[in-house]
Symmetry: C4
Subunit: 266 residues, 4 copies
């Protein structure tokens, strides 16, 4: 195979692997297969930690993990190889190095490496950390879709409003937490004995999660807590609503530009 | 009664039972009666399982159930009989068989059969499964209304956006669950000792249900958990809002087409 | 005072007490005073039941209650007296009787009567029922405002959509409750041993209240429960959103008609 | 330095400190620095109360607090000094006194004073109250931004609708609380033995927080409680939705007027 043949193959692999370079709409077959493999790998990494399921089947899980790791390593190598085809890196002197230091390539590598080294028993924090690293593969899903871009656009478009409402929420949480701290610290020192503890209560109340691990018990604390719940939840609806509306707009724009692109291609 | 008489009766029964074939707006009287009977049957199936209510009245409930089962069996037979009138199946060689294998006819049969066989005492899983099968009658309610169609349209119209936001939610749930698993697994091995267990916590927090069976107790876990609650709930508002807006549009379209239909009929 | 003088006084009292007959915008002074008295009476009825506050001050509370009762009785008598001025009842042969049997007049009477009879000690259900009857005065607030009308309009405008979505919610609650009943009845017979008990769980989960008194503990129950929470909460957003949008429209219409009325009056 | 020099310096300080007087968009450098210092001071005040963090480092925290207090005192003095430049107070005979009695200046002073006096050990209510006073600095954040103004506008624009919906919520809470009080008072006198206690339950249910400290246990109480949860949460969505929409409008207006201002400035 001559240089021209290699270049032609590289170009074809580039069009296959890089969604931006693809002419037809949708994902290419290899990217679809990789999406499925990512989901399988994440499912495997999740299930592996549950002793009720994985107990006694450690070898099976390790083999599956290792095989998936080899495939993703091959994908990583392929993406390094085709980086020279990408116009974004082509101007650089070392296009492959340029690609290798992008956040996405680093995440790829970090997610692949733990799969290739066998880990012994034990449940240490370090081992657990490496297991979670493998979850980073999910971020690759984001790369092959446009969802993350729409989310980033949504936040960026309304950064002014979101900052304001988060500031209001911050002030409200501090004030509410402090008031209930003031009322409850004597009655429940373990749960409301400091403002950070009261802020945990305030966050769990404001988000309406309400685990029930901490709640006011004095009449004064219940009065402040009830007022805070009613007013605070209305406040919490502000950033959520603004973000949802902005995300909806961003998706609309993406959809329209996609339609326009496919019409231009005709 | 001659063949013509039977055909004329069959046609009238078809117009009575099939909402699509009815000329006047609204539900026919027999469909209204069946709707009431379905609600009675479901109420009976629900109440029958509660020993505080049904205790000592087993025979009464069995008789009611059996009578309702006979009525619904008659309805099933009638629908089989009139299937030849339905233009959708008329082209088929065996229109009644064609109707009998539609999902709705299978659900009908599955929901009717358990009512006709008496079940002895005991609370086995199989018996309980058959009891729940009877609930499938509720799906018949959907057939006589257009609500399910509007819901399916709503999901289909925004399948792209909903897939994206569910993917984001999936990633967020995995990441959030993994982070709190990392922080809490040593402190609460029973509740956060594996990622699937931490995902149960993440789902119950993200939906703001917050039963209080699992919640972080370490400072690190509370910090990650609080951040996750605040950001995650904003994420959860995305598919809910998209679906609600799309459902509202679909209902609007259905309403307009209904108005147009009734104007055309004039 | 002659008959003409009495009629002229009655007409003035009618314009003072009946918001619809008032020419100037807003509430008349006597209606404002009555609104404050209603709030005082409700506050008194609420606080009276709390032994930590009312203990030892029973006589004080009874005197206050009795005085307020006399004022509201006088108001009831005045409204009966002016009923003949109201065009809505004027055509009737017995306009005062016609007014006395309207739901609002009956609620007025029911709310006033318990205040005028002293009640001894004891906490029987009957006494408690009479105490709550006094809360009905709050419904009088609704009469003097237009909020209830806007709410009724909001529900009526979208009765079709709301019925559909409530039907969907009903089906979802039944299905979700039955599935978790199927999975959990053996593990938690006390909490999931019958479908009505499982429906209590389903309602508390669907509304995202999540008290934590009942929650699935088996892996199967947690899987179904988690799915149900995610999908069900999106369903629950449907009627809430439809109702909120419709209420907002109804308020807008009321506001515009009020502006138009006040412009016509000029 | 002559009078003219002092006036010129005062004018420059005024333009630096007063966002309204600033010509360029955004915050001046000194206001940015003050914002950061406010956040540091609040963070310090929060963390100081947590014995797990502050234990043994009391002196460090006291020094930091005292230094920050001096800076904020200097800022307070500077704002007093420049008050004569502000057109809003310039017409007054004593512009600085006029400024000193504005709510914001009083809050400033109240928030600064506790920082300048060392407080001994102990956890008395008074000490705790002074600690929380320092949180008032957060209100200064609001002054340098326009978020609070947008919120006040949002509430004011819809004061009529918000009053109505809060009245409806009040009535619903009272009615729901009373009904469940009626059903549960005998079974759980400690939790539902009076209407105020039942209202605590009603608020925690209506806001969907659901701590799980109080919930109905009798069949009647569960029936009323479930109905109340379903209907009440739809009601609670009304003021939240109205407020969120109005806040979004107010932000939009603020944004447009800011754009217009910056265009006029060109």
């Amino acid at each position: 195979m001559g240089v021209a043949g290699e270049q032609s193959l590289r170009r074809r692999v580039y069009r296959e692997l890089e969604p931006e370079a693809r002419e037809a709409p949708g994902l290419s077959w290899s990217n679809r297969a990789l999406t499925v493999l990512i989901l399988v790998a994440v499912f495997e990494a999740v299930v592996e930690t549950e002793p009720l399921i994985a107990g006694g089947r450690e070898l099976l899980f390790h083999l599956l993990e290792f095989s998936l790791g080899l495939i993703f390593l091959a994908e990583y190598a392929a993406r390094l190889w085709i980086a020279v085809e990408n116009p974004a890196y082509a101007k650089s002197r070392f296009p492959r190095l340029r690609y290798a230091v992008t956040p996405i390539a680093i995440i790829d590598l970090l997610a692949v490496l733990p799969s290739l080294f066998a880990f012994g028993g034990g449940g240490t924090l370090v081992l657990r950390f490496f297991r979670i690293l493998r979850m980073l593969r999910l971020a690759k899903l984001g790369r092959t879709s446009r969802a993350w871009q729409a989310m980033i656009d949504a936040v960026y478009d309304r950064r002014y409003e979101l900052t304001l409402t988060f500031a209001i929420l911050l002030v409200a949480t501090m004030m509410g937490g402090s008031l209930v701290y003031w009322a409850e610290a004597d009655a429940q020192p373990e749960k409301f004995g400091s403002i950070p503890r009261a802020i945990w209560w305030a966050i769990i109340t404001l988000t309406t999660v309400g685990y029930g691990d901490t709640f006011p018990i004095t009449p004064m604390g219940k009065f402040f807590g009830g007022m805070f719940a009613i007013l605070g939840i209305a406040l919490f609806a502000l950033p959520t609503g603004i973000f949802a509306a902005s995300f909806s707009d961003a998706l609309q724009r993406h959809r329209q530009s996609r339609v326009r692109d496919s019409e231009d291609a005709k």
